[in-house]
């Protein structure tokens, strides 16, 4: 089987990962149910506002934001829902790094690199969706429901593999 050769990513790490991921999401769910004033609303508004600023800088048409909504070219609007604000990727990264055995210094250094990178990548994702909504509306469903959903998860996977190489030397 060769399982023993594969290093310490074993059942214990997988179970710890699942437990941390579920705990983070349940905490987020409860926070949303209680009004979302601490995490959900401020974080989603921050993503919306920052994405709109970036979009305004790089896209050749007017972009406005209000609350969770972004309007491009005065017509095409995008609503940043709770499952679209990038927190799901942040939680995956947090759980993956916290679950794997490493010193806390190493974990914190990993989080200090990867979480801002994921936030930035999410901004790129939202800006790209704003552009698709404005200029390639026929591709919006594929771009939104398929590509944009998976791309951040792919980066989480790549960052985690990169982190493991650093931890295991």
């Amino acid at each position: 089987m060769g399982a023993a050769r594969e290093g310490p990513v074993g059942w214990r790490v997988l179970l710890r990962f699942a437990a941390i991921l579920i705990a983070l999401n349940l905490a987020y769910y409860a926070e949303k149910k209680l009004g979302g004033a601490v995490v959900d609303e401020p974080y989603t508004h921050a993503v919306t506002w920052t994405s709109a600023q970036v979009a305004r800088a790089v896209l050749p048409y007017s972009v406005q934001s209000s609350g969770r909504g972004i309007v491009a070219g005065g017509r095409h609007s995008l609503f940043i829902a709770s499952g679209c604000n990038g927190l799901e990727a942040i939680f995956l990264m947090l759980a993956a790094i916290a679950a794997y055995p490493a010193t806390w210094r190493r974990r914190l250094r990993g989080l200090a690199w990867y979480l801002p990178a994921l936030f930035a990548l999410n901004l790129v994702r939202v800006v790209a969706l704003v552009h698709v909504a404005h200029s390639h509306h026929d591709l919006m469903d594929v771009a939104h429901y398929q590509v944009a959903q998976g791309i951040l998860i792919l980066f989480v996977l790549a960052f985690w593999v990169h982190y493991l190489r650093g931890v295991d030397g």
Binding site: G2, N25, L92, V142, L154
Partner: protein, 196 residues
């Protein structure tokens, strides 16, 4: 860091290719998943409600009638339900190590799991809509807690936030780690690319 770039580029290229392929194949796949979920819902008749499921473009439309409330309808994006297949196919094809024959075996083993997951996920999404209509009072969970109602709502939230993303990647990891592809193939260069 330098060793990670080729893996990241391979993952991104594979993701782009599989996103296109899956987008083409989704209507055919929906013709299998939606009738299967529809037949099971007809069998189960959640809370005595007959639910009609229909394919409408890239969406799955649902309709049902609740006594005293009338008709309820809505739709789910089928791509949103199944995008994890793209993630699985991406890692299956882009992570170096297993020979082609073993990758095909991985795929053959994962396909039924993916199908069952997609059918179950669709049924749970419908169940959540039915519960919203027939047990509306449980939304006030502090005063009128419903165990099944809360379980379904929490499951759907977890499904959107985490389950869809990690389940098929987890299936790949288990296949990669526990199936004996190394014994047959020998240890080719790059087999350590997942998590060593």
């Amino acid at each position: 860091m330098a060793r990670c770039w080729p893996t990241l580029v391979r993952l991104l290229v594979a993701f782009a290719v599989w996103s296109w392929v899956v987008a083409q194949a989704l209507p055919a796949y929906a013709r299998v998943v939606v009738p299967a979920a529809s037949a099971l819902l007809e069998l189960v008749r959640p809370h005595g409600v007959g639910v009609e499921l229909l394919r409408e473009g890239g969406y799955v439309a649902f309709r049902f009638a609740v006594p005293g409330r009338g008709g309820v309808s809505g739709q789910f994006s089928f791509a949103l339900l199944t995008y994890n297949a793209v993630l699985y196919l991406t890692v299956l094809s882009a992570v170096p190590g297993p020979p082609l024959r073993w990758r095909l075996r991985f795929l053959a083993m994962a396909a039924p799991a993916a199908f069952l997951l997609h059918v179950a996920d669709l049924m749970m999404a419908v169940e959540s809509q039915v519960l919203s209509a027939v047990q509306e009072e449980h939304f006030d969970f502090l005063h009128d807690f419903g165990l099944w109602f809360s379980t379904v709502k929490v499951y759907n939230f977890l499904s959107i936030m985490a389950v869809r993303q990690v389940v098929l990647l987890g299936v790949y990891y288990l296949q990669w780690r526990f199936l004996p592809w190394r014994e047959v193939a020998g240890p080719p260069a790059g087999t350590n690319s997942l998590a060593e």
